[in-house]
């Protein structure tokens, strides 16, 4: 395990870019690309703050492989009825806590605003933290695990689109 201060800074920059590209992908409604930020046997969970202390924290959105992420995108586009809104992510405090066996353990904060596509009004939709495990394949970073730990555990209306 390397101390955080001894990490190759170019790799830290690559990881930062992963978060920014991830946010851009969702915010630009380019959801088809969203699963490609993950490895095939990934774990993606949205966990409300009030569930964090359970032995196995219950997720309100759960996928344990990339196919399930692809399916959600497909279902969002083809079948679901929900309030039409744009997301806008602000991701900050991206921090590599440790590197172990080639896995980067990275946390960051997020703020997501949501804008109603009809009324044009914006609300502060969700605040929380990403807790991730990232691997580099051919120098490109991918999420092996991404837990979205949601402070705003009473969710405004619904959460069809991933955070």
């Amino acid at each position: 395990m390397k101390s955080t201060y001894n990490i190759d800074l170019s790799k830290i920059e690559v990881i930062r870019l992963l978060f920014y590209k991830y946010a851009q992908c969702i915010d630009d409604s380019n959801l088809d690309e969203w699963p490609n930020f993950f490895v095939d046997d990934c774990l993606y969970r949205i966990i409300p703050k009030e569930n964090e202390n359970f032995e196995e924290p219950f997720a309100i959105l759960y996928a344990d492989n990339k196919n399930q992420l692809k399916d959600r995108v497909f279902i969002i586009k083809k079948a679901l009825v929900y309030s039409l809104r744009y997301y806008r992510h602000n991701i900050t405090n991206i921090f590599t806590n440790k590197i172990e066996d080639g896995i980067y353990h990275v946390t960051s904060n997020y703020v997501v605003y949501s804008t109603d596509q009809v009324s044009g009004q914006t609300i502060l939709f969700s605040v929380g933290k990403y807790k991730s495990e990232i691997i580099l394949k051919n120098k490109k970073p991918y999420f092996k695990k991404l837990d979205v730990l949601v402070d705003t555990f009473s969710i405004q209306r619904q959460m069809p689109i991933p955070l």
């Binding site: 409300p48 009825v81 209306r157």
Partner: protein
């Protein structure tokens, strides 16, 4: 008090609902008085949330803040979370365990039964200050709710006039509740949604059988039910509660693979089903007037409580449960099946949207009404199919009975059971 007694309810058979009931501030106040602190049983939580002595949860009865806890005697008590002294919040945590409950403002201390056990400076200091000589702790308890349990569910009531819980539920509701609580349960987690809409439009949705095959296209495409779902609705003797069940499409149970080609999904884990109850039911929802639904979709189990915020806003609080004896595989499947329900659930997220859509549309149109016609305008009774709004009419009739509007008092007699 005299809240909007001139509300004019035109329809004798509860097929036309005046829109003002969804938005009017006075009606909302009257609902709290006549319904939520009236002769009903309100769902307050699950015993599994507070298994040990001193365990507590905070919750809302309608919009009234309450505490539910387990005492040393093993019994469950519920009381309003408002100090008997200066009306400050007593319990400030969401959930936890506590030997007693002390209001931080002036340190009045209550036991698990809501009884006042300690007050500072009762006799003053050196003969100065303090409470009057005739101050009696026994007349300053936290306001208690009457509590009764069915299986693992905790119900409370502010009214002395409410029927015993078993009579309130009735056999039509007890039977599916026994299915829901067929084994000892364990809380897996919570889910919440804040919805801009009126709480009653959500309750309507719970007992509306029509929309399942129309709004929820994915469930149809995945074979959870057909576009014309096969099932029925059973109402209690007053039509206030409903049990709504849908059977699996005959050829789909355990055959998720079949749909892979039909609706190009890559991974159908969430649509797989373990036969836990030895019946053909895919979706089973029990709606108990006025604030709770017990839902089973495939193997996903949850309670969903409606908590009032104001006439235009409510919150859903769901408790997701599993059975204590679940295998790790079944437990994982329940987690996967959250894909159906909750704020990100393919079916439930659409229901919350429906409530908001009504809220948006009705502004400024108090004199208009919505229409309930499916299932006809006749007697409010159980139905052997789900293409009916009869459960919704049953809800409104009992609502009017408790609200005691001048204009509906006579209409109640127009239909049976009263």
């Amino acid at each position: 008090m005299n809240y909007n007694d001139d509300l004019y309810w035109e329809s004798k058979n509860f097929s036309n609902i005046p829109l003002s009931v969804f938005s009017d501030e006075n009606i909302y106040k009257r609902e709290i008085e006549k319904i939520f602190i009236g002769p009903v049983w309100l769902f307050l939580g699950l015993e599994a949330e507070i298994p040990n002595s001193g365990d507590f949860i905070t919750n809302f009865a309608g919009d009234i803040p309450i505490v539910v806890n387990r005492s040393k005697d093993g019994n469950i008590y519920a009381f309003v979370n408002r100090c008997a002294h200066r009306s400050s919040t007593v319990v400030r945590e969401l959930r936890g365990n506590s030997k007693n409950h002390t209001c931080i403002y002036h340190r009045w201390c209550y036991n698990h039964k809501g009884e006042l056990t300690g007050v500072p400076y009762q006799k003053g200091i050196n003969g100065k200050g303090g409470l009057p000589d005739d101050f009696n702790k026994n007349s300053h308890f936290l306001k208690r709710l009457k509590v009764e349990l069915y299986k693992g569910a905790i119900f409370g009531s502010f009214s002395d006039k409410v029927e015993p819980l078993l009579d309130y539920l009735g056999p039509e509701i007890i039977k599916p509740l026994d299915r829901f609580f067929s084994k000892p349960v364990e809380v897996l987690g919570y889910m919440r949604q804040r919805i801009d809409g009126n709480w009653k439009s959500y309750f309507e949705n719970l007992t509306d059988g029509i929309h399942a095959g129309l709004l929820h296209q994915l469930a149809v495409k995945m074979g959870l039910w057909g576009s014309t779902p096969d099932g029925g609705i059973k109402l209690d003797r007053y039509g206030r509660h409903s049990h709504y069940y849908i059977n699996y499409l005959k050829d789909t149970k355990y055959k998720g693979e079949y749909y892979k080609n039909k609706f190009a999904l890559n991974d159908l884990t969430f649509s797989e089903t373990v036969d836990e109850w030895d019946d053909d039911i895919s979706t089973d929802t029990i709606s108990i007037f006025p604030n709770v639904m017990f839902a089973t979709v495939s193997n996903f189990l949850m309670t969903e409580q409606i908590r009032l915020v104001n006439p235009g806003e409510f919150e859903l609080l769901s408790i997701v449960i599993g059975y204590k004896e679940d295998s790790p595989i079944l437990r994982k499947l329940r987690q996967h099946q959250v894909a159906w329900l909750g704020p990100a659930g393919y079916v439930a997220l659409e229901d919350s949207e429906a409530g908001s859509l009504i809220h948006k549309a009705i502004k400024g149109q108090d004199k208009e009404h919505s229409y309930l016609g499916y299932g006809g305008h006749g007697k409010i009774k159980s139905s052997d199919n789900v293409l009916t709004e009869i459960g919704v009419r049953g809800f409104w009739r009992y609502y009017c009975y408790l609200m005691d509007f001048d204009s509906t008092r006579d209409n109640l007699k127009y239909l049976d059971s009263f």
